[in-house]
């Protein structure tokens, strides 16, 4: 889990200030490489959806969210729910590098006795605000957290990151109706819209277009355009939109690519949860290293 000096310096800098778009891009590339390495080493886990959300979770935890890794249960912290819990390797990589637990724990992913369960467990892993795994729960729980903030007069934000699988589940739409009824402040649903599911493409499995129209019809304040979920500058612009005036709750759709970063894995449903074999690892890793080096050079 060795990170190079530049990445380490960014992690140190984060202790004092939010990171810029270019800095976030470097971190996301480094984290994606870590995810790839651990998933290959362990031979289990979900690469496709972990990779597609790398920039999104990096930007949340290293630019935006008010959290305290030394006090994971701080009452006033912002909340994050990874409703697409199979992207657990993504969340663990972020939390470890954010300081919730040692990065040396990451190779224990999915090992018996490890606190890094197959899907996130709030009872085992510091920094996990809600256990997930079964799809479609996240938004309902987020509505509850945001209502709790209102009741208690707290100002924390609640972010729910969902994928197509969560949107296939009817419960998400129940939660959207309830969100529109009570309109809790500072609740944001973020969609990692990579358009590929486990068995095939979204359009083959369960077409969801137009998501924006659906969310609007359900009474949510939807960002006026889809943002590029791999462009950290664009993600920061989506954060600016979240901060702008407008009705609650808010939803943002991010266009992403499943398996992002490894050309022959991108957009392929086969890489939803397949183990990363040695050959694919050997061919794919240099691409991720090159991407990291490019982004470091652009700093």
């Amino acid at each position: 889990m060795e990170l190079d000096t530049l990445v380490q310096s960014l992690l140190d800098k984060k202790r004092n200030s939010p990171l810029s778009a270019r800095e976030l891009a470097v971190l996301a590339a480094a984290f994606r490489l870590t995810m790839f390495d651990v998933l290959h080493d362990r031979g289990t886990g979900h690469w496709g959806g972990a990779s597609s959300a790398a920039e999104l979770t990096t930007a949340l935890y290293f630019n935006r969210m008010q959290v305290n890794p030394n006090d994971p249960h701080w009452d006033d912290r912002d909340r994050f729910i990874l409703s697409k819990g199979h992207a657990s390797m993504n969340l663990y990589t972020i939390l470890a590098n954010r300081g919730y637990f040692p990065v040396e724990d990451l190779p224990g992913f999915r090992k018996l006795g490890s606190h890094l369960q197959g899907h996130p467990s709030m009872k085992k892993t510091p920094g996990v605000d809600m256990s997930t795994g079964a799809l479609g729960h996240g938004l309902s729980i987020g509505v509850g957290m945001a209502l709790a903030a209102r009741l208690s007069g707290k100002k924390f934000w609640t972010y729910v990151l969902s994928g197509e699988g969560c949107l296939n589940e009817g419960q998400t739409w129940e939660a959207m109706m309830m969100g529109a009824k009570y309109r809790p402040e500072r609740l944001v649903m973020m969609i990692d819209f990579n358009k590929v599911q486990l068995d095939g493409t979204m359009n083959d499995i369960m077409p969801l277009d137009s998501l924006v129209d659906k969310f609007k019809a359900f009474g949510w304040n939807v960002a006026p355009r889809a943002f590029n979920g791999h462009d950290t500058q664009d993600i920061l612009e989506s954060f600016t939109w979240m901060d702008s005036d407008g009705a609650w709750p808010k939803a943002v759709v991010y266009d992403t690519i499943k398996g992002k970063g490894v050309s022959f894995m991108e957009g392929k449903s086969a890489w939803h949860g397949a183990p990363i074999d040695d050959k694919s690892f050997a061919e794919g890793r240099p691409q991720l290293v090159a991407d990291l080096e490019r982004k470091e050079a652009a700093l």
């Binding site: 309902s140 509505v143 509850g144 957290m145 209502l147 009741l151 129940e174 109706m177 009570y182």
Partner: protein, 308 residues
């Protein structure tokens, strides 16, 4: 007769709202039936009508519970236990969250609405879940005690409620001890009753006493954790056990009792009164119960057979 259990529970919710600022109440568009509307009227800011969407309601409660609140979710028992199962299992129980799951109209008590609304599998489902406690009150006072108990816990509790009024039982001041409650001591046979079947068991015991059959009557509101030692002490004395429940005989209260006794290595004669692995039907409540073997007369006859 006591007041209807749903009225008692709703009034108790509203009463506890005054002393429990962390108490929030959610309902799934049946608050005028479950009587959680009484709380909603008293504390409109802490009451959430979630519409007919039980799964969402349970998870909204979970979100509130992670932020210091103690939610009580209300809906018909059958719909909470079946439409909210994943949420109760994967969110409430897995994370040991303090949420009270209040299943209204339990058993056959929604009698006229028929089998689609009669909850005969909820206890089996709920007791199978790690971290879940399961309480089936026998009368309105026990329903109030169950709510007070549940709000003092740090994890999830399922309370299976009844719609109707039923005979009032002697008060059980030790309710929160989660023990077997002995209502009548006897030597010939142990009748272990769950929920509203308790009053039937008491009446049956009176009939049997006149015939020289001295029955011990236990009411056991806590299906989980079950007081196996307390039950075993009685059965060890009598050598015979009849369990009674307003639920299928598969996986519910009777199953919990016999599983516990099996581990005590006891040898005893046994019979079970409950819904015999079938669907029930529409009818007036008392007649419906009786049609499925839940009456004092039917229970007395089962005891006679057991003691023969």
């Amino acid at each position: 007769m006591s007041i209807a259990m749903r009225d008692a529970f709703g009034a108790k919710l509203a009463e506890l709202g005054n002393t429990h600022p962390e108490l929030v109440v959610l309902d799934a568009d049946v608050s005028s039936s479950t009587k959680s509307a009484i709380f909603g009227k008293a504390f409109p800011n802490r009451f959430f009508n979630c519409g007919v969407a039980e799964a969402n309601m349970v998870d909204v409660a979970a979100g509130l519970a992670t932020c210091g609140y103690h939610p009580v979710v209300n809906a018909f028992a059958i719909f909470l236990a079946l439409k909210g199962t994943d949420q109760i299992r994967n969110v409430l129980c897995y994370n040991h969250l303090p949420v009270v799951v209040a299943g209204a109209y339990g058993g056959l008590s929604d009698s006229f609405d028929g089998a689609s609304h009669q909850s005969i599998t909820d206890i089996a489902i709920m007791r199978a879940m790690p971290n879940m406690e399961v309480i089936v009150p026998a009368d309105s006072r026990q329903a109030e005690q169950a709510l007070e108990y549940a709000l003092a816990q740090s994890g999830p509790v399922y309370i299976r409620l009844n719609r109707n009024a039923m005979p009032e039982l002697p008060e059980s001041p030790d309710f929160a001890q989660r023990k077997v409650i002995t209502l009548r001591t006897g030597t010939c046979v142990t009748i272990a009753a769950n929920g509203i079947t308790t009053s039937m068991a008491m009446k049956a015991a009176e009939t049997l006493a006149a015939e020289g059959i001295d029955a011990e009557v236990l009411t056991i509101p806590f299906v989980k954790p079950l007081d196996g030692a307390g039950l075993a002490a009685s059965v060890r004395k009598t050598g015979k056990l009849l369990t009674i429940e307003e639920h299928t005989v598969v996986g519910g209260f009777g199953s919990a009792c016999t599983e516990a006794l099996a581990r005590e290595q006891l040898s005893y004669r046994y019979d079970a009164v409950g819904i015999e692995d079938c669907f029930t039907e529409t009818g007036a409540y008392d007649a419906l119960l009786a049609a499925y073997g839940l009456s004092a007369d039917a229970i007395a006859q089962r005891v006679r057979n057991l003691c023969r």
